[in-house]
């Protein structure tokens, strides 16, 4: 009860504080100082989603990434079966508050989304898009470099994991 009152007293109506906290906790923005986080907080886009509402759909042009502020998001891949031409939806993962997805779109030029993301419940997402990244690079290059280095690290880790998984699958198929 005490925590509840304390949180609501200092958080503010617009939820500014959890937004900054969530940004600070994210790997992409963890190197930013207080001033750079303040700039970022005023640049990102907070979006609200209904349960079952698509955040983006597979095949759409991707412009940026999302961080889950509250709620949860499901990622699915649509596969078309050639024999029947009907599509089958495969559930890939379920993401919760603090998780992020779609970051590849920040570096791709008009890349297409490789999966569909939809809100699992009432969700609030922080959208960080290419124009936002460009604005940060223009106004505070030091913050831009910090974000880009972390983005490179994230994409490198994902690539390493994918390569390891492909190797595993190759080994399994030979056996």
């Amino acid at each position: 009860m005490v925590n509840f009152i304390w949180d609501n007293l200092f958080r503010g109506k617009d939820g500014t504080r959890p937004l900054r906290e969530q940004l600070r906790k994210n790997i992409l923005f963890q190197d930013l100082n207080f001033q750079q986080l303040y700039l970022l907080e005023n640049i990102v886009n907070v979006r609200h989603y209904r349960p079952g509402e698509a955040v983006f759909k597979q095949g759409e042009v991707g412009v940026g990434m999302y961080i889950i502020l509250s709620g949860s998001v499901s990622i699915t891949v649509e596969e078309i079966e050639l024999n029947t031409t009907s599509s089958r939806s495969t559930h890939i993962t379920h993401l919760k508050s603090g998780d992020f997805f779609g970051e590849l779109a920040l570096v791709e030029n008009e890349g297409r989304r490789s999966a569909t993301a939809f809100a699992h419940e009432e969700s609030v997402l922080i959208g960080f898009f290419k124009p936002d990244l460009f604005e940060i690079i223009e106004r505070n290059p030091s913050a831009g470099v910090k974000i880009l280095l972390r983005l490179g690290e994230v994409l490198g880790t994902r690539l390493r994991q994918t390569t390891a998984r492909i190797s595993e699958l190759k080994k399994e198929s030979k056996q």
Binding site: N42, N45, R47, Y49, R50, P51, G52, E53, A54, V55, F56, Q58, G59, E60, V61, G62, V63, G64, E78, I80, E110, R112, H120, E121, G127, F129, K130, P131, F134, E135, E138, R139, N140, P141
Partner: protein, 351 residues
């Protein structure tokens, strides 16, 4: 998980989209409703695009957004006052002298037209009778008289624009991004990425285009002023300012810009050497503009084929006259960016 039906989500999105479009339409309507406000907004956009890189540069150097925005305006005000003190007396002298000499120049132009008319009539009079003097002279005289009579009105309107433009531009630079973000927050989720990206592309293209045009005008005006000054030609400054401003009209601008200097030379006795030098100066300014600025700056920014540019300018002149010629290229490039983005996002859905 409680799922809301697809229909309910679609309905909510449709209402959001309608509300966003209505807000946008209301904003545009409110601006265009008042003539002076509309012109002030147009000029404020130009000021915004010219100053935005400077403001961003100052912010990069560690200044707050408030100071990064205020400082260029303070510097510009100072430079404006100093420039006005130096150039206004020269410009005022030149305008007064020009006003006194206008009847003489009109007379000289009329004589030139009569000469041309008699020569042309001797060749094609039987086919098409020409009466340039009778048709043009009264029109030119009334046009010039109207110009000087309505000068006080222009001045009072210009003063409104003069004070409103920097005021709007200042707040565009300071809070413009937050305002755009608030308007964009009204866009429904399924179009948000598309609209945000389109806004970014349009902004980048318009900024580049406006800066390139300003650079062109300064370059053309500067070369012409230097050339006329070295030549010792009268009204060098006013002619250079006129040529620089009129240069923003595609294709026609450079020719119109040269006309006053040629008329003045003709009225002053029509020295053939000066005539050729004038042609060289005006042509040189255009050659440098066409060889450096247009291919390396403008063409890359608007990314339009030269034939498309010609057709778009012709269409613009048909629809809105001179204003249409000036705004047709940026307007078309904005439409092109929007159409390509919408096509890629909505129609070319690879799945």
């Amino acid at each position: 998980m409680i799922l809301i039906s697809e229909m309910a989500i679609q309905r909510e999105r449709r209402w959001k989209l309608l509300f966003f479009l209505l807000t946008l339409a209301a904003l545009i309507f409110a601006i265009t409703l008042m003539k002076n406000v509309f012109i002030s907004f147009l000029l404020a956009f130009v000021t915004y695009y010219v100053l935005a890189p400077i403001v961003d540069f100052l912010e990069r150097k560690g200044l707050s957004r408030q100071w990064s925005t205020t400082l260029p305006f303070l510097v510009l005000t100072g430079v404006g006052i100093i420039t006005a003190q130096i150039f206004f007396p020269i410009l005022a002298d030149q305008i007064t002298s020009l006003r006194d000499n206008i009847p003489r120049y009109i007379d000289a132009s009329t004589k030139f037209l009569i000469n041309f008319e008699s020569q042309a009539s001797s060749m094609i009079a039987t086919i098409y009778p020409i009466d340039l003097k009778g048709g043009l002279e009264p029109k030119i005289m009334s046009m010039v008289q109207n110009l000087f009579q309505s000068l006080p009105d222009y001045v009072s309107q210009s003063l409104t624009v003069f004070f409103l433009t920097p005021f709007i531009a200042y707040f565009m630079l300071l809070d413009g991004r937050d305002f755009v973000r608030k308007v964009l927050s009204l866009v429904p989720n399924n179009f948000f990425e598309l609209v945000l990206n389109m806004n970014h592309q349009i902004n980048a293209q318009m900024g580049g285009f406006v800066r390139a045009r300003i650079l062109e005008s300064l370059l053309v005006g500067g070369i012409i002023w230097l050339g006329l000054f070295i030549l010792g030609f009268p009204y060098a400054l006013i002619l250079a300012v006129f040529a620089g401003i009129i240069n923003i009209i595609p294709y026609l601008g450079p020719f119109i810009g040269a006309v006053p200097a040629l008329i003045i030379n003709f009225a002053n006795g029509g020295d053939i050497t000066v005539f050729w030098w004038l042609l060289v100066i005006y042509a040189l300014a255009q050659v440098i503009d066409l060889a450096l600025i247009v291919p390396f700056v403008v063409a890359k920014i608007v990314n339009l084929h030269p034939v498309t540019v010609v057709l778009v300018v012709i269409l613009g002149s048909h629809l809105l006259g001179i204003l249409g010629m000036i705004i047709s290229i940026p307007l078309f490039s904005v439409l092109k960016v929007s159409a390509v983005s919408i096509y890629k996002h909505v129609i070319d859905f690879r799945g």
